[in-house]
Amino acid sequence: MSEQNFKIFNTAWCPGCGNFSLLSSLKLALEELGKKPEEVLMVAGIGQAAKTPQYISANSFCGLHGRALPAAAAAKIANEKLTVIVSTGDGDSYGEGGNHFIHNIRRNTNITHFVHDNQIYGLTKGQASPTSDQGIVTNVQVTGNINKPLNPLLIAIAAGAGFVARGFVGNKEQLVSILKEAIEYDGYAIVDIFQPCVSFNKVNTFSYYKNHVYELEADYDSSNKLKAIEKVMEEKDKIPIGILYKEKLKTFHEKNSVLKDSIPLIDKKTKATTINKFILEFI
């Protein structure tokens, strides 16, 4: 398989960073789906993971910390022909952007959200993230993180997300297939992806993940919501990876009275006769 349409750029990530494998998985997924760079819009906020759009040959919107989702959702609303992918970190998605995370699940635009989850803040050099384990010692959490980690996928299912998955960069074959299915899913899809931070997280290392994750059983039924909730609550010793929950829901475009005719918003126009009618209503 090649990644050549989506080119390799010089990156600013540390050698051994889990982001490399994620980036190449993403490029492979896009290639295999036959996407062209100009059809793809990569959106991110701020963070090490949020540099991903810089390293891939596609349209890119590198916005503000925590604010990738609102920009991505609106870009999709504006032009449904774009394949819109948010590729950004756990701090960006669940910390600074927590409110947008919840509400974009409700909105259900057809966008894909890949969370590079290394359970630590990398760009700011090693503070606790919303998904950091309790007890982890950092330069700010000096006596160990006293706060419980967030369970983002439990929140996603509870908030009504229609596609919820977890991946691990150490299982590239599975990861590429999850990414492809998430991109193809018609609606908001979230994939939380474990990717070790080699510089700042000495607890959740590559081997830690390797020893703690397991692939969902072949006969796992991803349409069973209660089962999925049980699965995403298995966090301690054995963490399932794969597509945890999948359900077809009405998308924003299907629900919105302006967009349901499938004409992209950017190609619509208000007729002068309509505006003149509005003016007359005030007379």
Partner: protein
């Protein structure tokens, strides 16, 4: 010209009564200007609207009243001092205040007889219109426009019953405004946005800006505009930027508190050069302030909001013409310069309705962000150009890839920390101001060329200042003039410099406590205003107040 107040508690249907009255007055040919004064509550309290009407143009509200419809006792107590000696008050006969000008009618009893106690206000409406010498033959038509179908018949009976209760008191000659519009400032703004090609509006409800979203939501489906209620103001502006980047003409709207949340993204629009129009319908702050009242205290905030430096434009809306035409212009400027354009309105202008000449679509240009890509292959989104404006393409509309970046970036849009590129990019962005400054609109000059005193103002005080200048020039013989700013940042200074040079004294009038325009003028030109008339009680200044202050001496 008559001035007429309708007051009562929240929940008594004042808005409906006022809508019926304004429409009937305008249909009779009168020019109508209605200001609205609300308390921040859904039930109870004291709310009122002041309807001014006559055969000539009216630019603002006034305090002296010819008539009052009092739906409760409090309305009488609060406003009787403003009632002219020959004025009238209509109220229910149960109210125990006695005064020769009070006309007591059995409003509640009649309403019950008609079959719904809630139509007592409509009965009072019929009576008031008769006292003003008006006819009510258009009543049925107007009621159909304002009310749900099931309430039309009963209200028609009520308005006729009230009309028959009293005799004509005033003689009203009609004006020529029957075929003009009657519209609020916020509706005019929304209509201006639609006319300019708006495709996407995202906002979080906040008084007094919500009426913009309400109008757009009502028209969205027919106009092909997506109106999305965001989870917060941060989402609202980031959604507007995402939509605009992708090619949809976008706007967001809020008041000062919401604007505070939007500040970081304002800078994103600046550095990523994404066009956006942001409306700030001002109310008194700080923090929650006076949520339903008016002020002009966000000027210095919006012209300097956000870290870093980038070009922006701020346009203050002065009246119901500006609200339409300047809004449409804002979209064109945002698009051409790829900058954020901020529209400053306020509660007074946004909620006030005025008669206005039907808007002419031929006077405005609609925006189309989608241009043909001519530079396939070596496209540079942030190309260094002489005027600072780089070629903007829409992602997905050509093979060229389009980048937007909140980091400093090179011509392609890739992150850079190069000192050389940084300087070039800052200079490129700031160069846009040079061209923008050349197309600024000078403030409107009002009054006599022979002036001695020059008044300065901006935005919604336009009406009161204009009227004050007319009154003073009549009384004192053409000694007054005013400059009222619409374009306010960058500050147009050409006319300011020439007029200040020949003025004996310069007096600044603003709805804030610190004289923000005076401060901006001093910063930009070195001109120091001699005096300030500042009002910050949340209520809009009137021409009478300005005249009174100028005649009795303004404190330094």
């Amino acid at each position: 010209m008559y001035n007429f107040l309708v007051g009562g508690a929240a929940g008594q249907g004042i808005e409906t009564i006022v809508a019926i009255i304004e429409k009937l007055l305008k249909r009779s040919g009168s020019f109508v200007f209605t200001s609205r004064d609300f308390m921040s509550r859904v039930r109870g309290g004291h709310n009122f609207s002041v309807i001014r009407f006559g055969e000539n143009k009216i630019l603002s509200h006034a305090n002296k009243l010819n008539g009052i419809i009092a739906l409760n006792e409090e309305t009488i107590k609060l406003h009787i001092n403003d009632l002219q000696p020959d004025g009238f008050i209509i109220c229910d006969s149960k109210i125990e205040i006695d005064e020769p000008r009070i006309i007591k009618l059995d409003l509640d009893v009649m309403a019950k007889e008609i079959g719904n106690p809630r139509v007592s206000g409509t009965i009072a409406t019929g009576a008031a219109l008769k006292l003003f010498g008006k006819e009510i033959e258009e009543a049925e038509k107007v009621l159909k426009e304002v009310l749900d179908e099931k309430y039309i018949d009963i209200n028609l009976v009520a308005i006729q019953k009230g009309y028959n209760c009293v005799e004509k008191k005033y003689k009203t000659t009609s004006g020529k405004f029957k075929d003009w519009m009657l519209i609020t400032g916020s509706e005019a703004l929304a209509l201006g946005a639609i006319s300019a090609g708006l495709r996407f509006y995202s906002a979080y409800p906040m008084s007094p800006s919500t009426s913009i979203m309400i109008y757009l939501a009502k028209k969205g489906e027919e106009a092909g505009i997506v109106v999305e209620q965001a989870e917060d103001e941060i989402a609202a502006i980031n959604m507007a930027l995402g939509a605009s980047y992708a090619g949809a003409v976008a706007m967001t709207g809020t008041s000062g508190g919401g604007f505070s949340l939007m500040v970081e993204a304002l800078g994103l629009s600046g550095i990523a050069e994404i066009p956006v129009v942001i409306v700030d319908v001002q109310r008194p702050g700080p923090a929650t302030g006076l949520p339903t009242r008016t002020e002009q205290s966000d000027l210095k905030f919006v012209i300097s909001a956000s870290q870093g430096e980038f070009p922006r434009m701020v346009i203050a809306l002065r009246n119901h013409e500006d609200s339409f035409y300047q809004t449409a212009r804002a979209f064109n400027i945002a698009e051409r310069y790829q900058i954020p354009v901020i529209l400053l309105s306020d509660q007074y202008l946004g909620d006030a309705s005025s008669t206005v000449e039907p808007y002419n679509l031929e006077k405005i240009k609609s925006v189309n962000p989608i241009k043909k890509s001519t530079t396939e292959g070596d496209y540079l989104r942030y190309k260094i150009t002489d005027d600072g404006i780089s070629p903007r393409l829409i992602p997905g509309k050509s093979k060229n890839l389009v980048a937007a970046d909140s980091d400093e970036h090179d011509e392609q849009g890739h992150i850079t920390e190069s000192s050389e590129v940084r300087i070039k990019m800052v200079d490129k962005r700031m160069r846009k101001l040079k061209k923008l400054k050349a197309e600024l609109q000078e403030p409107e000059f009002i009054g006599a060329e022979s002036f001695k005193t020059l008044l300065l103002g901006w935005g919604s005080t336009y009406g009161a200042i204009t009227e004050a200048v007319e009154i003073l020039n009549k009384k004192q013989g053409n000694k007054y003039a005013a400059l009222v700013f619409g374009d306010i940042y960058p500050l147009p200074i050409k006319d300011l410099l020439t007029k200040v040079k020949i003025a004996d004294r310069v007096i600044n009038i603003e709805q804030n406590a610190t004289g923000q325009l005076a401060g901006l003028i001093r910063e930009q030109t070195g001109i120091v205003c001699d005096l300030n008339i500042l009002k910050y009680d949340g209520r809009q200044i009137t021409a009478e107040e300005i005249v009174e202050k100028l005649e009795n001496g303004v404190k330094k």
